[in-house]
Symmetry: C2
Subunit: 221 residues, 2 copies
């Protein structure tokens, strides 16, 4: 016999699979969801269209993998950021800033992954991704409320408000393009202050909360 399911083979399979996802990511980052077409992705990855189907049963599975990849990366980053915060209110501020900075840096990709719908099964995953992000915010808000650092409130609603605000102000198609880094930092800070006021932190700066994005810094992918 020939060709066993050896470790090396599996490695290569995964590497190529990832390459396809990366190609899709690059296209989405450049031109949004519509640019993710099998032919384009394949060309970008340097393979034939049919080959994509050796790695993904359907396009929506590929898109799902992309959504998962991007979302997990962002979730990990904001959890890390939250963990390093000195207190409950700082944690909220730091997480908003971290996520906003990431979202701004990859506006189109973020929009494609979280805000576009394509009518396929991937949409469900998209919703799940939004939910995960919002849940992260909600958890921190709830903790702050529990510790009496914030007034009683509907934490899920507050979290969704944060999410929606960042998306609309910094990520959406109507957001100004913050070409200069300084402009982006300023916008992120302004958004942060708005959402913090929204949950009841009316004097974030006076309290010494970090409201500056830790920018620029290296990115992991």
């Amino acid at each position: 016999m020939a060709y066993r399911r050896t470790e090396r083979v599996i490695q290569r399979f995964n590497a190529r699979r990832d390459a396809i996802v990366q190609a899709a990511q690059a296209l989405a980052a450049e031109s949004g969801m519509e640019a993710i077409q099998i032919a384009h992705v394949a060309a970008r990855a340097g393979i034939a269209a049919g080959t994509v189907y050796r790695y993904f049963p359907s396009k929506s599975d590929l898109v799902a993998a992309l959504i998962t990849f991007v979302t997990e990366r962002d979730l990990a980053a904001i959890r890390r950021a939250a963990g390093g915060a000195p207190g409950p209110l700082s944690a909220i501020a730091v997480v908003i800033i971290e996520w906003a900075a990431r979202a701004v840096r990859r506006r189109r990709l973020t929009w494609a992954v979280l805000a576009t719908t394509d009518g396929t099964a991937a949409d469900a995953l998209r919703l799940a991704a939004r939910k995960s992000l919002a849940a992260e915010f909600e958890r921190l808000i709830a903790a702050a409320v529990a510790g009496a650092h914030l007034p009683e409130q509907n934490c899920a609603l507050a979290a969704a408000a944060m999410f929606g605000t960042v998306m609309e102000v910094l990520v959406g198609p109507l957001a100004p393009s913050y070409d200069s880094e300084a402009a982006a930092r300023a916008a992120i800070q302004a958004v942060t202050l708005v959402v913090l006021r929204g949950v009841g932190i009316i004097d974030a700066r006076a309290r010494g909360l970090v409201v500056q994005a830790p920018w620029p810094r290296p990115d992991e992918a």
Copy 2:
């Protein structure tokens, strides 16, 4: 010759055109943007598919007409609401409530019109619609700032934040379905308080601002 462009003919033409837009609206309200297919719209309007093209040169023109129709209606409503407010801060509160109430009442339609993209020329109009709504908010915020009723701030950013918050919390696919009218009213009030705090009104209720949706009330279409 026969068949002049008489008044009666024009009337009928416009009536049928409107009927097609209404059919599209009904479909979008029920099932979102994807449901707007020429065949479906035609069936709903009781005509043949080809007939739609006697009234609209292309699907995207039909969608554009729908977007314009819905947006103008909402804009008129919030302008009316703003006009009746006793002061600059009340105007902001009243407009948010008015728009939020309308958006919640027709969630899917609002989402289809403002938040969905379909890759056609109608997308530009969608953006314009969002811009118009946000501009309305911005104007009121700027007026309040000018009158020193609100702290100095980036009014465009604040307006976008309001828009995004309402969309995400009340309209988007992750918003809970406020089946009971009371639940909807409560959610609208909560959202209103959040966005008002966001622009610097930290004690809306204490100031006697209206934060209750004027609900239920008749609807015009």
